[in-house]
């Protein structure tokens, strides 16, 4: 079985941890995030008849925003940038934030996911998609368990590329 390190980044409170909680059962205490700024969870995925062990690094915030060691971003095979569709401040500067993560991690492509879609209407969602200058890979709701698994499948596929 191959193992891949993947990152979950995004501003504070966008629901990264909730997405993981919905997706992974086997995890360390959430206290680690507030202590050292990261928490590692593991999940085995079966993709195209191949088993992949996903080591998900849930990083508190994005580099530059908070004091996060640069090394947390190193050696990752894929990353998912999460923003909160109900909070403008989490996606207004998204391009710069994504560029920062790309430059530290060395990753060329970063998956973009808008979480908490259950909090806004479809019209508002369409509006947000127009405002954000980068194409959004998926809109999720950790609360309603919508598209969570799909997001991680996509992340796994990206880590295998």
């Amino acid at each position: 079985m191959i193992a891949k390190k993947v990152l979950l980044v995004g501003s504070f409170g966008v629901g990264k941890t909730s997405l993981i909680r919905r997706f992974v059962l086997n995890e360390f205490s959430e206290d680690y995030i507030s202590t050292i700024g990261v928490r590692v969870s593991a999940k085995i995925m079966k993709i195209q008849e191949e088993e992949v062990k996903l080591l998900i690094w849930d990083i508190a915030g994005t580099y530059g925003e908070e004091k996060i060691p640069k090394s947390y971003f190193l050696g990752a095979s894929a990353a998912m940038f999460v923003f909160d569709v109900s909070r403008e401040e989490t996606y207004l500067d998204i391009k710069n934030q994504l560029d920062a993560v790309k430059s530290i991690s060395g990753l060329k492509n970063i998956m973009l996911v808008g979480n908490k879609k259950d909090l806004i209407s479809d019209e508002k969602l369409a509006e947000i998609m127009k405002i954000i200058p980068i194409s959004i890979d998926l809109m999720t709701s950790a609360k309603e368990d919508e598209n969570v698994e799909d997001a991680f499948i996509k992340l796994t596929l990206q880590s295998l590329k």
Binding site: A3, K4, K5, N26, E27, F28, Y32, I36, G37, V38, R39, V40, S41, A42, K53, L55, W57, P69, K70, S71, Y72, L74, G75, A76, S77
Partner: protein, 283 residues
């Protein structure tokens, strides 16, 4: 002499007066006795039901009230923490004391046994010839024998586990490797100066030693008293392992191959160490 008409009249009047005066009391008495009778009847009917309910309560008390009582106790403890601590402190103290006494007794028996063995004429003569290790060191090493519990070979940047040797039962080694790497990165970022790395973490009887290389690091968890000889030997072994795997990069891709190398090297070295120890003791 027979009663006269006047006498009868008196008696009748007296009876009449009695009727008039006691009528209310008699009525009350009647009601009271009725009530008592009804109670008796009710008692006979209700008693078995009450008994049954009491028995049910006795048997199922924890089910009915367990959670309420636990919650009440929790609230009570929370609200009167100081009182609880004060009440428990002497009991805890006694328990801790008892435990320490038991452990010290065990330890002293162990030390006595080792000292007796070490200072037997046979061993004294043997030490005269072999020398090197001090008596205290020898006794300590035997009482608290160092044991390699876990060895993780981890990729430096990603924190991915490349290979491992384990005596224990760690639930998810990959996750542990990831978190260990995160802690290492955090420590480096928070405290270190350029080029310095986290090398040791101690937790109670365990010691976690980290040997850093460029692209990998090897974390070793040991228990017992780690003396200099053991430490040097272990570092030599780990350096040899690192040399092998960094020269032949296939080890980094094939976990099983690396696990086998770790097992063979570490158990062989352990075996050698044990054999050596046995031969010294049994000389």
């Amino acid at each position: 002499m027979g009663k006269t008409a006047t006498d009868f009249d008196k008696i009748n009047r007296f009876e009449l007066l009695k009727e008039l005066l006691l009528a209310e009391d008699r009525n009350d008495l009647k009601l009271l006795s009725q009530e008592i009778l009804e109670r008796e009847k009710l008692k006979t009917k209700v008693s078995p039901i009450v008994d049954e309910k009491i028995e049910d309560l006795r048997e199922n008390f924890p089910t009915y009230f367990g959670s309420t009582i636990t919650e009440t106790i929790k609230v009570q403890i929370k609200e009167s923490q100081n009182e609880v601590v004060e009440a428990l402190y002497p009991i805890m103290g006694k328990l801790v004391k008892k435990f320490i006494v038991a452990e010290i007794t065990k330890l002293s028996e162990n030390i006595n046994q080792t000292i007796n063995d070490k200072f037997s004429i046979k061993n004294i003569i043997k030490r005269r010839f072999k020398g090197k290790k001090s008596d205290a060191e020898g006794v300590f090493q035997e009482v608290f024998e160092p044991v390699i519990e876990e060895v993780f070979v981890i990729e430096e940047n990603s924190g991915l586990l490349i290979g491992s040797y384990s005596k224990g039962n760690i639930a998810d080694k990959d996750m542990v490797s990831g978190m260990l790497t995160a802690i290492k990165s955090f420590a480096s970022d928070a405290f270190s100066k350029e080029g310095q790395h986290l090398e040791n973490i101690r937790f109670e009887t365990f010691q976690l030693s980290i040997l850093n290389f460029k692209s990998i690091y090897i974390a070793t968890a040991t228990s017992g008293v780690v003396n200099n000889d053991f430490k040097e030997k272990l570092i030599d072994d780990l350096n040899s392992i690192a040399e092998i795997i960094l020269r032949d990069r296939n080890y980094l891709k094939e976990e099983e191959k690396l696990n086998l190398l770790l097992k063979n090297t570490l158990t062989k070295e352990n075996q050698k160490l044990n054999d050596c120890k046995k031969s010294i003791i049994g000389w």
